[in-house]
Structure formats: C-alpha cells, structure tokens
Symmetry: C2
Subunit: 391 residues, 2 copies
Amino acid sequence: MNDFTFYSPTYFVFGKNKESETGIYVKRFQGTRVLIHYGGGSVIKSGLLDRVKKSLDSENISYIELGGVKPNPRSGLVYEGIELCRKEKVDFILAVGGGSTIDSAKAIAAGVVYEGDFWDFYQGLPITKALPVGTILTIAAAGSEGSPDSVITKEEGMFKRGASGEAIRPIFSILNPELTMSLPAYQTACGATDIMAHVFERYFTNTKDVEITDRMCEAVLLTMVKEVPKVITNPNDYEARANIMWAGMVAHNNLCGVGREQDWASHDIEHELSAVYDCAHGAGLAVVFPAWMKYVYHHDIMRFAKIANRVWGCDMNFDNPEETALEGINRLEGFLKSIGMPQNFTELGASEKDIERMADTACYGNGRSGEIGGFMKLKKEDVEKIYRLML
Amino acid sequence: MNDFTFYSPTYFVFGKNKESETGIYVKRFQGTRVLIHYGGGSVIKSGLLDRVKKSLDSENISYIELGGVKPNPRSGLVYEGIELCRKEKVDFILAVGGGSTIDSAKAIAAGVVYEGDFWDFYQGLPITKALPVGTILTIAAAGSEGSPDSVITKEEGMFKRGASGEAIRPIFSILNPELTMSLPAYQTACGATDIMAHVFERYFTNTKDVEITDRMCEAVLLTMVKEVPKVITNPNDYEARANIMWAGMVAHNNLCGVGREQDWASHDIEHELSAVYDCAHGAGLAVVFPAWMKYVYHHDIMRFAKIANRVWGCDMNFDNPEETALEGINRLEGFLKSIGMPQNFTELGASEKDIERMADTACYGNGRSGEIGGFMKLKKEDVEKIYRLML
C-alpha cells in the first residue's frame, strides 16, 4: 500500500427536506453574506430556491443570486461571479444544483480571494485559499459535493481543465435524495455512469495488495448495479435514489482511492468529447470506458477478471482468465446500454474527423507532457486508437 | 434509508515512518504545549516515544508526559491527567498508543476544560468542548483514532461506560502500520475481532434498503477475513498490517453505520466481562458475538443468510435459508478460533456465578432503562441467556 493522507472534513447532512436547514449550516460555518449560485430554471420552478431563501431569511442571513450555470460550466460566468462577490462583499458561496454548479461555485470562491486570473488554478496552480463553499446537491453524479476538485471550460479554445485544493472542498453539503427524483432518466443514467467512472479510475491501478480499497470500490459498484435500474424504471424510488446519492459521494471523496496509484486517462479522453460536442460528461464516459478497457486490459488481465467476477458476477474461468476479463467488459457495456447510455461516436454526436485533434489536446493540451493515465501510460497514438474503438 | 449526518474531519496521515512528522501536524493544528499520553513501556522500548519527542523538538513545541494507561483505561489516571494539564497549561493532547490510550486522552481533553467531574460525560452529558487531541496509533482495533467516542472504567464500582462528542474526535491521526508489527499474535487477533465487531454492530439493523452501507460493512469484513490470518502467520507482513489498520478506522468512523439503526448490545454485554475480569475487549467480543448471534438470528434469518453468503462465502440454501444463516455463524466461530481467540467463559476466565449480576448491570447499570440493543431489544433475562450460551 502506498503512503497517503486522507481528509474529508465536509459536514454531510443527508435526508428528506434537509434544504430547509440551510440557514442553520451557513450560520454554523460563519457565513453572513451569501452568493446563491445555480443553473437554469429547474431550481426555481421546483420551489427549491424559495425554500433555501426562506431558510436563510429565518437565520437573518443576507444573500444575492447568480444563476445561469450550464453543464460543462464556462469561465465567463465565473468571472462574472467573482466580480459580483467582490462588489457585494460576499463571504460565503452556496451552490444549489449539480456538479457543474458546484464546480462553478468553487471557481468563484477561489477567484474572489485571488488577485490574478482564476484560470491560473486550472493551469496547475494549487488552490490554497477560497471563500467557504456550501452545497445543496440536486444530481447524484460528479461527487463535487465532497471533493476538493472543480472542472471548468475556458471559452477561448474550449479547454476543459480541472483544479484542486482543500480550500474549495465544501464545508457542508446537504444531500436530499427527493431533490433528484425529478431528474429525467437520461440525466439520471449520465450521473450514475459518472459515479461508476470515478470508481473505475481508482480501481485500475498497478499498486498491489490494497484489498480494503478494492473492496470499497466494489461496494460502490455493486450498489450502483443494483440500484440504478430501479430509478430508471421508477424515478420516485426514494431508497434507490438515496443509495445512489450517497454512493456518489463515497465514489469521489477518495475513500475509494487511498493507498494506490490511480488512472484518470478516461476522464482526460472524455473531457475532449464534452468540450468539443458539449455532450453530457456521463454520456461521454459511457462511450469512453468500454473502449479504454478493451485497449488496456492486456496490461493486467487478472485485475479485469477480478472486477468481472466480483462486480459483474461472471464465473471465473480459471483456464482462461482473459475470457472472464472480456465478459466483464461486455457486462458493463450491456449495463450501460440497459440504462439508456450511448454506445459509440454516432450516438454521442461525435465525429471521426476530430479524433486526431482531440487526441492531441488530450495528451498535449494546456501544458501536458504527451502521456496520460496511471494504470497504463497512453501516448497520442494510443488515445487515437481508443477513440477509433468508439466509432 | 434513515436521515443522517456524517462528519469525519480527522486528518489521517498513513504510512511508513509518519510519526516523524508529528511536530508538523501538532503545529498545523495550533498546539504549542503538549501532553504526551501513553501506556506502558513498549512505546519507550521501541524508540517510538523518542522519535515523537524529536519531531516535537524540531518544531520547537514544548511538552510534558503522562504514561501508565492500562487496557480498559481507568478514571484515576484521567483525574491525574486533568490536574496535570491545568497546572502545566497544556493546550494539546497527543495520544501515543492504542484505543485505551486514545480514550484516556480524550477523557482528559474534555475534562480539562470542564468545571465539573469529567465522569458526568460518561453518564450521558454530551461533550461539546475539549482540548484538541492528536493520535499516533500503535494497535489496529478500537477505531478511536477516527471516532468521537471514548470508553473509561470508573474504579469505584468498576463501571465501564462510553462518552461521545465531536469535540473529542481526533484532529489528526498518524497511522503507521510498521508500529503494529511488534504486536503479539494474541493482541493482534483481539484488535481484529474488535474491528469486525464494530461492523457487526452496524450490520445487524432493522432498517431496510441500505445497500451502500451493507456493502461498506461487507468490504471491511471481507478484507479482515483475507488479511488477518496473514499477520497471525507473519507479523511483519506490511501490506496485510496496512489493510487491517485502515479497515480499523473505516469500521468505526461510522461510514459503515450511516442511514440505519445500529445494535450495540454485544458491546454492552462485553463491557461487563472486561470490566469484571479485565480481559481484552476483543477477546470478550469473540466470546459474546457468536452467542448473541445464535440468540437473535431468528429475528431476521435473511440478514444472517446475507452475511453468511456475502462475507463467509456460504452457498445460499434457497430451500432452507436458516441453514445458511447458521453456517455463517459457524464460519465466524471457526475464524475466531483459527486466529487464537477464546470460545467460551472458561477460556476467558469468566465465571457462571457472575452472570446474573453482569446481566443486571448491562441492562440497568448507570441509569440504563432495562433494555439494550437496536436490532433486537434485549431484557435482563435475554442477556442472562446469552451469557449462558458462552459457558
């Protein structure tokens, strides 16, 4: 097992109607002047925003609002938010929405207290200072509610890049599974795929003998395999929504990644897809992961056989473990298809002609060295081949 | 799934030689005058205490020492520690040892800043204020390194009772698996049993549909079943020690308990054994748990069949699930025996004549109402019967 530190100090409040306690938590964590940050009209239409404001009112906490976050959140709104917060002397950022809204809120939180261009953080500068961020999560997907990470797309060039730092880890996160019930099946499935992808990125490692972390990864995946089909059939299944929502946090606060090398090539490969075609991140991952797996499984057949056996319930073929490994990948593809995810470039709206350019950006964009991935190092020609497996 | 809050803000530092960074973390968390609290001579003999002091010296942090913590830590030393800290104006408690040392340190930390008798906390008063506590863990067992709990035995009457509060949750915990290598096989096995018991207390619940938490519990148990026999055979197996040490934290920071009722009757039943006979807590649990399981499994046969199938690898008997349930309990007994744990009162040094009194104290002692347990409510006559199953 590799040495590690693990730190997940977010205060999680989980359950029905917990958004009505928002004001209590903002106050507990010393917010006095809040920016409520959100996306489109759904949080308004559903009445969620009103409930949140009412809760802030009841604690005499003042606030301003900034809506308009889009999926694959853009730098433009971040700049606008930073300026607004400075002008209005905001001391607490409250994200009401999914991963995009939370990531945008984190970028604003870091940018407000930084003299330079916030994009510096997305080019590698560690985030060491930020306004506190609280979240009210409406989509089980990105895990941003419990992570120190944020992904933003810079409009000039459509670069999609991540930043990280303990300072932007949410100080509290409110998770009410009921808020995810109104989510359409497609978005629900995209979120589920993202959650599973966060585990895959950590599961495929060259570090040996990290049984506890393997088992944690498998725990999340087994839960998803059981619970996701239920909510595709019945969006109002509270218990299944609750299991998925908590699994989404566990999948990405790094409990599933401690003590081991991780991969993350598939996220790099996907980020080009969602940056160029503006597809949902989860939908992109559903196309990328099986292709990546088919390309790399030879690197460690027994690890692929292990996930096939333990998560997908494949009988271990002791005479030919490769068959088990491949059967696991097949089952993943079948599962993703069954929940309505796209299978290839065509279904994703992607185009073969962009492959060379996307592979180039994935490997060299934004100062990268030409190699991605921790499980198997991938060069540009590897990434091109992986994209071609998605055609 | 029941509503819950989850908060685990401890900063965990895991890996080889990490105790040499102690000073850095004490400083980061604002300690300037430290009480180093420890047990017997092993931390001195092994050189651990010297390495810790050297690390504090290198950060110019002053300290005093208080050794002498015994297993099943006593109130006497806590009173002594409180007085010492007040006199010496200590602002940080550093526990170097196992669960007993950490629990004693937590009691001192809470007592120093409380005007009344610290035992009030162990009679139900919530702990809301305490000096910060850091830990350097030497035994994988109690999970106290990541929990808000402390168990102390009051010398007058030999009452063993727990207290709880976020204020006593360690602010940092250093986990170096190498430090556990010198532990004899018996103590290692006692610790492992304690870890598994923390999961059992959470696994056996009446709350339905908490798949993610079930799977987390199973992840820890499966890890223990794989890794513990390795360290009994080879105490210097670093990888196995590492897996067990991290599993011990995960088993008790409540990640395995969120969203559900828990039980904890077996801990209450065991506490009488270790209070009266001063046996190791883990050894007591090894005798209590199979007996408790045999007494209560009828309450939910399918839950016992589930753990038998998923953790102990028993084939599910679909015609007679009770057989599977019982086979799981058998396998647990076999496992505990194989790692050298006692099986009954005789091996534990306990005596039939004390049963009635212990059952009475477990159910009524220290202001209890007469019923214990969350999975199946147990009255005094039930507890007596469970003790008799251990003869």
